[in-house]
């Protein structure tokens, strides 16, 4: 993340004001997205998403576990993001920890719903095997290999694609249900495709000057006064919201940004769906 001179910053701000960014995009235009599935064969599901020079991998692993006492009818999902030092020398050692935590928490907020598990983008009840005793623990791991801005959107897109690629093994329960830990037989052959119709995408709107842009590069991100990341699902419902940046925002501006994010996200969902379909078709 190199610094920018005043002249360059001025140029970027001018471009955003005139709706012509440095690479010719309009304010609400995404860079070209390229998607690959099954990049980690050992995982239950995985995907790699490239957004310009930003390159992220998401992997989903499912392991058997015990549901929490508070929510015996729901499985568990945990999301962790790691920024690899290959993306930038400043991520070496513990340098990338702050950013990784930031991204993990934002993704958890957008995809996993509130503390009670209500309103989660991922249907946790589908992960339960035996109420109160056995459930699936889903570990979602994100890895940032190369960074050029807009990591949150790329990671959320990668998670969505990886979930559509995920196969949860079929489980048949042996033993009586009165047992403490019933035996389960995990099938090696049959797999259930995860239902991803409810999984939201995240669109980050970065405010520069008086205008907002979508899919900021790291140069444009350095110019931001504030940013709002909105997670929207296919039905246009908002699943999560995060505001970053120190500048204050007028409430009417916030509402406007949310509605803009809503319309942009529908386009993004369409693009992702077609990429997922293309990837699945090429697999067969």
């Amino acid at each position: 993340m190199v610094g920018l001179s005043e002249g360059e910053k001025h140029f970027i701000r001018g471009g955003i004001a005139q709706d012509l960014r440095s690479d010719g995009r309009k304010r609400l235009q995404f860079r070209s997205i390229s998607v690959e599935t099954g990049v980690i064969p050992q995982a239950n599901g995985s995907a790699r998403v490239r957004l310009g020079a930003t390159d992220v991998i998401a992997s989903i692993k499912a392991e058997l576990g015990k549901p929490s006492i508070l929510r015996p009818d729901k499985g568990k999902v945990s999301i962790f993001v790691d920024c690899s030092p290959t993306a930038a020398p400043m991520f070496e050692g513990r340098g990338g920890e702050e950013l990784s935590n930031d991204l993990s928490v934002a993704l958890q907020r957008c995809l996993l719903g509130g503390t009670s598990g209500a309103g989660a983008g991922i249907d946790l009840s589908s992960l339960i095997i035996v109420d109160g005793k056995v459930c699936w623990d889903l570990y979602i791991d994100g890895l940032v290999i190369s960074s050029d801005g807009n990591l949150l959107d790329a990671l959320a897109a990668a998670i969505k694609v990886a979930l559509s690629n995920t196969g949860i093994p079929k489980v048949s329960v042996l033993g009586a249900s009165s047992d403490e830990q019933p035996d389960v037989d995990v099938s090696d052959e049959e797999f259930l495709q995860f239902d991803t119709s409810g999984v939201p995408v995240i669109v980050t709107l970065t405010k520069v000057g008086r205008h907002y842009i979508v899919d900021a590069t790291s140069e444009e991100e350095s110019q931001m006064s504030s940013a709002i990341s909105v997670s929207v699902n296919r039905r246009g419902q908002i699943c999560g919201l995060t505001k970053r940046g120190g500048a204050g925002l007028d409430p009417s501006v916030v509402l406007d940004m949310i509605s803009v994010a809503n319309s942009v996200s529908q386009q993004l969902i369409t693009v992702l769906d077609s990429e997922i379909a293309a990837a699945e078709a090429s697999e067969e």
Partner: protein, 322 residues
Amino acid sequence: MRDLQPSLNQTQRVRLQSALRQLHSLPSSSSSSPLSSVAVADPIQVNHDDNILKGHGTLDCDGEVVATLCGVVERVNKLVYVRALRARYKPEVGDIIVGRVIEIAPKRWRLEINFSQVAVLMLSSMNLPDGIQRRRTAVDELNMRSIFEENDVICAEVRGFQHDGSLHLQARSQKYGKLERGQLLTVPAYLVKRRKQHFHHLEQYGVDLIIGCNGFIWVGEHVEAGENVGMLVEDQKKTSTAEEESWSFTPLETRKHICRIANAVRLLSALGFTLTVEAIVDTAEASLASNIEINDMLGAEFFVQTAEREVQRRASMVRKKG
């Protein structure tokens, strides 16, 4: 800039492969052909009687000359060396480069120029704002920030290596100095060839294009050499509201041209073609002629078309020579 290859569909991939294959089969115009490519630890054929000088990228290993880099073997009279491709910039005296200030030290600025060390621009190698030739005083030293600040983009010339191994630059002419009102692009240094002219004023676009030998390329609004470069910064400090600032923004027409040229540079560097003014301007003109949106210049279709156009151009050059 490597992974900016857009995702191609099947036909585009086939077209690109065939274009690249044709490039490969064209006889190269330079003295070295891809046949003299070597990888690390490959032996280099030399005639041992001739007192061959072993230059960069070679190592004497038990009497045998061995390559230490992946690149192309060049022979100039008695000198044999390996020209590396994707390596950091190798400075030569007199090169015009574009750099970014990363630190201000006593009586000098330190610039990042894609070399293995930072380059140094001494206060005495820089023209003072008032233009008078005089000794630099302590007051000048304290006011260094008013000339160049951290993160400023500067155009300068390589002066030479000092005895302690550091690289020194000079910016004494009017055409060197701070660059504002534009964007800086980074490309691999091997794609920039040393030419007579590195400053290009593209009149038909009103755009300044500076191709630094170190791979930093500046595309910006045209500024007359010698214009007071401190103007913009002073204006910035006075204007604080967005409205006043918008008066000083680059006009939209010029901005469109700047973005087109910048995308042409990005595209050529992603394809691995040498960056010459002609190539850049041709690409930009081609995009204007086919009415392609500025953003779509980085898309798959124009990517493949540019590769095909380059094949045509090189083939016709070979025909002219032959």
